[in-house]
């Protein structure tokens, strides 16, 4: 009875019992990748690339990759329903707009110039 119920629940979540078994291995691999990524972040921060900007870009690229792994695999964003994708697309748009306005406000000639 319970097995039947769980299978039913899996229909909506998009994850069957068999999938859950298979995914546990993926979760472990992603977890290890995230830990290696953390080591890489620390290592890259102390390397002299000749320019501080490169350190900043390297750290943000590694953090973004780790963020993709968490959102994609742990939060199952790589296999979600369309509605969730639409919701996230709106969020990304507004968050990107916020960052764009922040950076734009600091440039000369900006209509929202800070200084």
């Amino acid at each position: 009875m319970r097995e039947h119920t769980l299978e039913h629940a899996a229909d909506g979540g998009g994850h069957s019992v068999e999938e859950a078994k298979k995914h546990m291995r993926t979760y472990a691999i992603v977890g290890v990748a995230l830990m290696i990524g953390t080591g890489l972040t620390v290592w890259a921060a102390f390397i002299n690339f000749g320019s501080r900007e490169i350190n900043i870009i390297a750290a943000l690229v590694i953090a973004s990759t780790k963020g993709f792994l968490v959102a994609g695999f742990f939060m199952h964003l790589i296999s979600e329903k369309k509605l969730i994708y639409s919701l996230m697309a709106c969020t990304v748009f507004f968050a990107a707009a916020l960052m764009f306005l922040t950076l734009h406000s600091m440039s000369q000639g900006s209509i929202v110039h800070m200084r």
Binding site: G13, V17, M35, V70, L87
Partner: protein, 267 residues
């Protein structure tokens, strides 16, 4: 009255309602932290040269806390997958480890906060600055005692990590050598609390808000794991949904820390 689509899938969305609810909530959280990251960028880019500290925080502790949160996230998905495989015992073990990780993270964070509140900067009358950790065991009204401190020529020297050959030592600064405050209310003595600098203000706001999320997430995970565990027997589908929704929030907390760590500790 039964809440509709708490377990059954809503035909038009293809999801149960709580899942849409948590994603909407997380969308609002992205904007909340986005606004604070935006503030960080504004403060940092507009900081006067030599006023933004580099590696002021303990990188090792920050890295350990990152690993602790990653481990907790792995345990959350393991727990959820165990329930899918009908293994409640394994779920309890995995979520128990998650809760231990949450406590470890908060313990380390508290230690870091305490360290900053015990870290003092003292402006001397000769223009130099004494900086280090206060010696509370040796408090005296005539002296300001450092457990481990150093004296530097300017603020700029405090913005970069001390050279390897610089040794921190016990210091006793006579109160008469310490600069009086401009408003006449005491001496120029200040700890590294959020009032100390723009960097520490945004550090405490970002990490404090994040820590509140860790506490909130841990309370919910604990409630589902312990007091509400009986739902697994009466309504397992609903129980799995609760674990999934609380897990989504927990992963988001991990995600935020993944960005906070390099931004505050390394760059």
């Amino acid at each position: 009255m039964e809440i509709p689509y708490a377990v059954k899938i809503r035909p038009d969305t293809g999801l149960y309602n709580a899942k849409i609810g948590i994603w909407l909530f997380l969308a609002s959280e992205v904007m909340l932290f986005g606004a604070l990251f935006s503030s960080y960028i504004l403060l940092r880019v507009n900081a006067d040269p030599g006023t933004w500290p580099l590696h002021l925080l303990n990188v090792k502790l920050g890295a350990v806390n990152t690993l602790v949160l990653i481990l907790s996230s792995v345990m959350v998905v393991f727990g959820w997958a165990s329930l899918k495989m009908n293994n409640f015992r394994a779920y309890q073990v995995y979520q128990g480890i998650t809760l231990l990780c949450a406590l470890t993270f908060l313990g380390i964070k508290s230690f870091e906060y305490r360290d900053k509140f015990n870290h003092y900067e003292v402006q001397l009358k000769n223009g130099r600055i004494a900086d280090g950790h206060i010696n509370r065991a040796n408090e005296d009204t005539n002296f300001f005692a450092f457990e481990a401190g150093r004296v530097v020529a300017s603020h700029a020297d405090l913005m970069v990590p001390a050279a390897a050959d610089v040794k921190l030592e016990e210091l006793k600064i006579p109160m008469s050598d310490i600069q009086d405050r401009a408003d006449g209310k005491g001496k120029e003595i200040e700890n590294y609390g959020p009032w100390h600098s723009s960097y520490l203000a945004i550090y405490f706001v970002l990490t404090g808000l994040h820590a509140l999320h860790v506490i909130g997430g841990a309370i919910v995970i604990f409630a589902i794991w312990g007091p509400l565990a009986g739902v697994w027997k009466t309504d397992p589908e609903r129980y799995i949904n609760r674990v999934e929704v609380s897990g989504l929030f927990w992963h988001f907390v991990d995600l935020i820390w993944i960005f906070l760590f390099p931004v505050l500790y390394l760059l």
